[in-house]
Every structure is written in structure tokens, then in C-alpha cells.
Symmetry: C2
Subunit: 484 residues, 2 copies
Amino acid sequence: MTDTSQDRHYTENVQNKLKQVESLLNKLALLEKIIHRQDLPREDRHSLVDTLAHRQHLAALRLKLDSLHPADIAYILEALPIERRLQVWDLVKTERDGKILVEVSEPVRESLITSMNREELDAAAGRLDTDEIADLAPDLPHDVMHDVFKSLSIEEREQLHAAISYSGDSVGALMDFNMIHIRDDATLELVSRYLRRFDELPDHTDQLFVVDRDDCFKGVLPLNRIVVNEPEVAVGKLIITDTLQLHPDEKAEQAALAFERYGLVSAPVVDEDGKLVGRVTVDVVLDFIRTGTENDLLNQAGLREKEDIFAPVWESAKNRWTWLALNLCTVFFASRVIGSFEGTIVKFVALATLLPIVAGIARNSANQTTAIILRSLSMGQITRDNARRLLLKELAIGVLNGLVWGGVSGLFAYFLYHSVSLGIVMTSAMLLNLMVGATASVAIPLIMQKLGRNPAIGSSVLITAITDSGGFFIFLGLATIFLT
Amino acid sequence: MTDTSQDRHYTENVQNKLKQVESLLNKLALLEKIIHRQDLPREDRHSLVDTLAHRQHLAALRLKLDSLHPADIAYILEALPIERRLQVWDLVKTERDGKILVEVSEPVRESLITSMNREELDAAAGRLDTDEIADLAPDLPHDVMHDVFKSLSIEEREQLHAAISYSGDSVGALMDFNMIHIRDDATLELVSRYLRRFDELPDHTDQLFVVDRDDCFKGVLPLNRIVVNEPEVAVGKLIITDTLQLHPDEKAEQAALAFERYGLVSAPVVDEDGKLVGRVTVDVVLDFIRTGTENDLLNQAGLREKEDIFAPVWESAKNRWTWLALNLCTVFFASRVIGSFEGTIVKFVALATLLPIVAGIARNSANQTTAIILRSLSMGQITRDNARRLLLKELAIGVLNGLVWGGVSGLFAYFLYHSVSLGIVMTSAMLLNLMVGATASVAIPLIMQKLGRNPAIGSSVLITAITDSGGFFIFLGLATIFLT
């Protein structure tokens, strides 16, 4: 639950807030430099004035931070280099630490948590809902988790236990427990009286969840319907029973697609016995979608995980090495493919100059196909019925591209080296390589999906390896047969 | 507004629904083939039975479609090849056409609209809200828009006019007009009585918008607060005034980030005079985010726009040609760079085999950096203060990678060709090229952003061109100096 009571300056652009914090930090840094100058006598008048100014700016910064929404502070922390980030983190009121930790991205969260001691972490986690504690759990030290666990009620312990046990890509991981349930035998009058006992309803309460005596899920009652109907109407007459029910073990991606398709704000999570165990809300789904597509972008570019842009060089380098190492193997292989045709290249050095054309166009074209296939896969739109059709279509585009761009490249080669046969070899090699690329870029993501792996990870490295080495082999092979 | 009254089988997985529709279509196709077989006499008994079965399956398919949510039908239409898509489209009840057209992706929408005549389109558009008509407007023929416009009330005409006039990436384009406004001098009692006049509130009504006599925006009153407070409380005591206000000309991306950060369900749109003109809801924001990140993925892969996976080969090819043509220019250039060192290659044919290593590793590493920079840019986290730091950091990673992977590659070259100087040239070339790549992949997106262009479009083509041609030039240049 976010606190809505305080003045949060929502109307101001968050980039402006960042700039204001940065400018205060700049002034502080400047003043600190002046104060700590060794060449001036310590009791110099300036120093006193500066110390005062320093204190003033510090107070201004603290005030500014207090006025910001936890999500805005999270945003600012992510955009600041490490030392400044920790400086700001120290100034944030302790009681808000928890909410902010939930909001920041994982690598930045790690950098903040390592700067905190056990008491601070206990205090931060202690103020959170159980589903939020579950989100932080992987990053919290064991002793802190132990303290937090001890401080919870039995019901909360069960919730936390459940929330932690679901795998990260399941509905269970998106779930919270802040749902309001009512009985199906009540009247609106009774429901209204029950609701007035709350000071405020949990965020994203667009509907109440209706259960029977055994906590079995019966349907939902939108707040909308409560306010447009007369108090004497029975809940049973207004509930919607044909509503989306999620299951804690279902894939989170499926739930996200359902939220998008049906424009949901919240949805009940029901276990296999039909019991209501929690709810999922649209804000969490939004986060999940943003993070998911971001990770896809990063994975496709060959990064292992999300990076703190100000992480130490060494850590960032490690994040990138898995794929670079794999890439090194594939280019070594491509290099040996060329090496095995050294004899041909010695006779026709022109071949060496044309190699990047054969590989480059096929690589680019395969990337386009991969992007389309990955999108359709993530939307769940590729079925057994249409996969063959897609492959044939991409092959056809490959042939078309091969004739057009292969033709242009053949002419390019002919005009440069005045050899008709070189031109023909060039065009044929590009045609064949584009077909190889099209096949690979449809087949590889589909096969990876079939094997239960994320097709966004590693597809493009593999496909590039195939169009590179394949292209070199086809081009130099044809040249060896027809030119020598 | 989506219709919530009907039974929509929410609880069933949409992929299953697609499979059911596909299997019905398969049966229909099979029956049609049997019925139209020319070698059997027309009055054959079988034919009658088959015709009956055909009619039954058709009825079953129509029934199935009637039971589906418009968004599910949109999903199914997108996943079907063109002829089957149009077959299903014909079976959908006319009164639901409009809602479905709003839901499908643009290229698929075009394929559906071209299959409809003026009357059908008039009927489809006539049932939509003005903001939905505005979404369809670019794809509707002029005469249909004319008919639709004539059928609207004066107020609706003004809304439609306003909605169409905002640019596609502004808040105005996300806005709808289904907000409920109340006066700040009312009591909850009065508000409740007003709300009971509605049969149902518009979707995503989590708050009412409070305005004064002149329609100036004063604040919001969450439904939450209505249900937890006693009827006699005055609206003025409960309204939240420090709430996010969007402006119609603001960038939609900014609004989306605000929805994510603050977990909003709806937000008021207010013009420069402080008048309430519309609202934005989270479902539209979700669509916007999904489409935006998808377009980024497609653009980075070198596609001009989103593609219907079953578009005719010719249309898909055109969508891909802009970037392939540009790519052809860059590889021709790279080819000429190699060509200008033909003399060196003739002497050391080993150089030709090592070229893909120098270019490939730098390309891959630059892609990683670009992905991180693009992510930070889209989150608005790169400021003047931290851009220099980022460049230095990426350069440092480039040097580290150059020493490690360049070193390995140097050894590879040495062991293959037994030349120490070749190994040193190899390592140096990779070190330099990785630094060139790091600089380009930080600088190019930042410069494009500065020039007001979308940095996701074209960055990677440019950066690849630089690491390819640059790598060839550095490697062959160093080789010419030190090996010959």
C-alpha cells in the first residue's frame, strides 16, 4: 500500500526532480571541497560561512527527498553514480527505506542493501507487506530474514512462506494478500457498513472478492456496482461469476496477457481446491511487462542480466562475458572456415573483400525474421497449424531478397573485378545464405521454445553464427568449384 | 466500454480458444473439399450428409465466436492466415466488428477493413466511443469517416475532432472522454444519488473528477473514499488535490512512466486553462507500453513497422527493404575498406581469415552497450552530469575486453600462423576497435536523442557499420605497417 496522504508533488516531472537533486548534490560537493581545503587555516572565516551553507543545502536536500514519492526516489537513486547514490540514501528517512527498496531495480537494490546494517534492514523490511518482503527476500541477508520472520503474525508467516515458495515467473510471485472478501449472503447495506470500518481500502481495490463459508471463491463484486445500486440489493444478485481466475502456479506471462486483453485492474488467485488465496493487481503486471520486455531486449543483445549503469567496471564486464566468450568461439569457427579456403583466396584475393557482404546481408535479414518470430511466440500466436506456413513465407522472402540484393551484389562484384562468373557465384551464394538464414531464424526460436527454454536468450548468437560461417562456406565453396 | 454482461469464458486459456477455432476451421476445410469434389456425381448421398455436417460445424464456430471476448477474437484473427482470418471475420456478429477492429494490431486491421464495404464500416464505427473512432480514423476510408462524423452529436464531434488532432505520441492520443465529473460543493449523499442514476460506471472508474462551476479541475475523489465514508461528509473534505495531472500535448511516454511509478488506474487530462478535457486509463497505458517496447525491438532489428505475420510476401519484403538497402551500402563500404588492402592480403592471406574475429567481437560488445544506453535513455535516466561518466565506464570495459578477448585472439592467431607480430597486431587491433565501438555505442544514441530522433531506430545499423569498417581498417592498416 502506498501512502497517499502526503504531499508528493506528482505534478512535477520526475526528470526535473532528478535535476534539482543533482544540483543540490553539486553544490554540496563544491562546499565540501572548499571546507576541506588543506591550504587554508582551519579557523578561516570562509570555512564557517561555508559550513553553514553546507548545512543549509543538506537540510534543503533532505526536505526535497521527504517530499518525493518512494518511486521517484527510487528513480533518482538509479540515475546517480554509486557514491552520490549512497549519500542520498543516507538522507532518506528510515521509515521509507522499505518502500524504496521494493521500487528500485535489482542491481541497484543490492548496492543499497550492502550499505545497510542489520538494524536498518530489520526496520525497513518490518514496515512492508508480506508480498513485498517476499520480493526483497532473495537480496536480504539470512539473519535479517530470520528477524523479520519472527516479527510476523502466524497468518503473515504463512503468506510469506507461500509467496517465497512460488517460482519467479509464476502468478504466485505477482500475488498480494490485500484483498477484501465478503460473503455471498450479505446485502449491499451490510457490505457498505463493513467497508466504512476501513480508514482506506487497499490500493487497486476495484472489486471485492466474494467467498462462501469455506473460503471458496464465488465471484467478484465491483465497487462500481456497489455505488450504482440501492443499499437493499443482495450481493448474490450483483456478483459476477464468469470472471478471470488465476492459479498460483500458472505462468505469470499468461496472467499479464489476460490483464492486457481484458483491461483488468485486479484479478483473484484461486488454488486447486477453489479457495481464494490472493489477488494480482495491474500495477504489478505493468512492472512485470516492463521488466520482461526489457530483459528480452538485454538478453537479445547478449547481456546476462539487468545492469546498474554505474556498477563497477569489473562487475559490468562479468555480466557481458558469457556471451562474448560464446561469440568468440563462433567467430573462431568462422575464421577457420575461411582458413580452409586459403588456397582459393590466394588465387582470387577479391573473394576476401566480398566476404562481409555475403555474411552481413544474411545476418541482417535473419535478425529481422527473428524479431518477428520472437514477438509472435511471446504473444502465443504460433501454432502447429501456422508454423509451416511461416517458414515457407520467410523462405520466399529469403529467395526474393536473394534475387534482389544478391543480384545487386553480383553486379557490384562484376563491375569491380570484371568477372562474370564471380558475379554469378556472388549472387548464388547470397541467395543460398539468405535461405539458410531464413530457415535458422524460424526454426531455432521454435525449437528453443519447444525445449522449454526462453527463445529470446541466445537465439541471435546462434543464428549469426550460422549466417556467418554458412555464408563463408557457401561463397568460398562455390568459388573453389567454379572459379578455380 | 467493454460489455461485461455476457458470458465470455474468461477462465479458459486463449491459446486453447485459438486451437478450438483452428480445429473447427480444419474440419470445415476438409468438408468443403469433399463437397466440391468434381469426380463424384453431384447428387451423391455423401454430399448431402457432408453439407449437413458443414452447416453444423459452421453453426458451432459461430456460437464459439459469439462466446468470446472481442480481445480474444482479435487475438485469434491475428494468429490466422489471411483466407481463414476473413472466413472467421465474416462469421463475427456485425455489432461486434467495431470493438474487435479497435483491438487488433494495425496491419491486421488493414486486412480486415479492406474486406468490408461502406455500410459495414459505418455500422462498425457507429457503435464506438469517440476516442475509439479516433484510433481507427487513420485506417478508415474518407467517405466512412464522413458518414460517422455526420451521425455524431455536436459534443461528440468536438471530442472526435480534438482526439484526431493530437499527435500519436502525445497524451491526447491516449485520452478518452468517459470520465464522471462532480462539483466540489456537493456532499457524498448527493454524489451517491447521482451515481445511482447510472446503470454502470465506465470501465476503469476508480475515481471521480472534481471540477468547479467553470469546469476547472479541482482534484479527484476516489471511489474508495466514497465507500469508506459516511454519506453526510462533504466532497470538499475528501478530495485529493495533489494528484497527477496530464496535459494533452505532453509526451505519452512521460504519462506511461508516471502510471508505472505511481501505480495509477486513471488520471485526469487538463488543458492549459486548467479545464478538465479527458482522462487516461491504465489499460490504454498498458497497450501503449507493450506496443512501444515491441516497436523498439522491431526497429532495432531493422524493420520499418509492425508486420502481420501472414502478410503477402511482397508486402513483408517491402517492410524490410529500407534497412537492408542501407545495410548493403555499409557492407559495400566495408568491402572497399578490405579492397584497399588487397596488396597486404596477397602477402599475408592469414589476415583474410582473421577479419571476422576483429569485427565480430567489437560488434557484439557494442550491441551490449547500446542495449544498456537505450534502456537508460528510455527511462530518462541519462543526464548531462552522468553521460561523461557512462562513456568513461564503457571505454574502460572496452579496454578490459580488448586485453582479455584481444589477448585470446592474439594467441589464437599466433598458434595458427606462428607469427608473434601477427599476434600483437591482432590484439592491438581488437583493443582499438573495442574502444571505437564503445565510444560509438554511447555517443550515437545520445546524439540521436539530442537531435530529437528515436535512438532505437538505426543506431545499431550505424554502430555495426563503424565496428565493421573501423575494425577492418585498423587491423589491415596495422598489418600493412608492421608486417610488410
